[in-house]
Symmetry: C2
Subunit: 109 residues, 2 copies
């Protein structure tokens, strides 16, 4: 159970879809979430939900027999504002790229 961080959470496309659903609907029962997927069975979704919970991007609450899942956007925003921001700020500087292409590979010691 090593790398249970938000990067792991969003690495899988099915989990990203789950997060999309929760973002759009606010909160959803486990079954409601599962019924949105033809690509995976209910137990499969259940395990994705557990992973998402372990990664801290989702929280669950019992309500009778229902299990209500809710999004916790904080870890995602931390990625957005933290690690990823440093790369998003980089301009793709096509001038520099062009010069590289014209002049050929930069010689180094």
């Amino acid at each position: 159970m090593s790398a249970r961080d938000a990067f792991t959470a969003i690495a899988d496309p099915t989990r990203r879809e789950i997060l999309d659903l929760l973002r759009d609907h606010g909160e959803l029962m486990a079954g409601e979430i599962a019924s949105n997927f033809a690509s995976a069975s209910r137990p499969g979704i259940s395990r994705h939900l557990r992973v998402l919970k372990e990664c801290g991007v989702v929280s669950a609450e019992r309500d009778g027999q229902a299990q209500i899942y809710r999004l916790n956007p904080r870890p995602l925003r931390e990625i957005h504002d933290g690690w990823l921001a440093a790369f998003a700020r980089m301009q793709v500087d096509s001038l520099k790229a062009l010069r590289r292409r014209v002049e050929g590979p930069k010689r180094r010691a």
Copy 2:
């Protein structure tokens, strides 16, 4: 060769470190990159570099016997400005959370 997207690229902590190095140094030889890791051997890093290249977040160029790697920030910025932005915009609305805690779980049909 299924999911070779930028989400896959950044899922692994070693690959994130490689991207950090390239962001800080502009461009690096494969060996220079590998020498920064005690946790992985040179062939291991070489394969990470291949994955990063397949994910489109890195480009490589031959220069003599050196292989020069360079960052391509565009896919990362696309994640930042695209999918992740929708979650980053969500405020964590602690008032709503408090109300939920006070009133108990929201009853649903």
